[in-house]
Amino acid sequence: DQQVKQNSPSLSVQEGRISILNCDYTNSMFDYFLWYKKYPAEGPTFLISISSIKDKNEDGRFTVFLNKSAKHLSLHIVPSQPGDSAVYFCAASGYTSGTYKYIFGTGTRLKVLA
């Protein structure tokens, strides 16, 4: 049972435009959410996070939005740059299956076209 879902396996965006990556979760016990970027042959790099007590967090070109009632979060990248081309993973942490864990989605491959 996939507790964290990224339903879009890939996304293409023109340079300079907004990229919006989406993520849904099912467990209301999750209380901390994160986005990671991953280049091939490298480990995931932490981008931005948000606690469940907030609905928005911003860091430079990256903004994460959290809609708790819909169990949905999104990552906005504005403006998108070719160097943003990577696989993006969302993750949620909290109490699940009897312990505290970080659960990851399956990833969305973002391609920013020059």
Binding site: E42, F89, Y102
Partner: protein
Amino acid sequence: DVKVTQSSRYLVKRTGEKVFLECVQDMDHENMFWYRQDPGLGLRLIYFSYDVKMKEKGDIPEGYSVSREKKERFSLILESASTNQTSMYLCASSSGRRITYNSPLHFGNGTRLTVT
């Protein structure tokens, strides 16, 4: 900067071999994790540890074991490697006490393991 170091970037092993994947972090983090990444499946949690000599099973622990004898080091062991364990293995660490995981995971660069 947090540094998580995995001892090998690439490994090729034969079916049935015992395989050790080593991970060291330099930030005095309490929590350490092993994930594997496979296309279309994302990152799946194998084992994690929130203290020295403590370990908990993740979502896919079968065929794996772990060892945490020192706070900075977390080893993943494949007792008898099989071809379905060919994957990218990622180690991570985080600070914070077990019941409040409100801090990010910091990942190593991964070990690409091929079992033939």
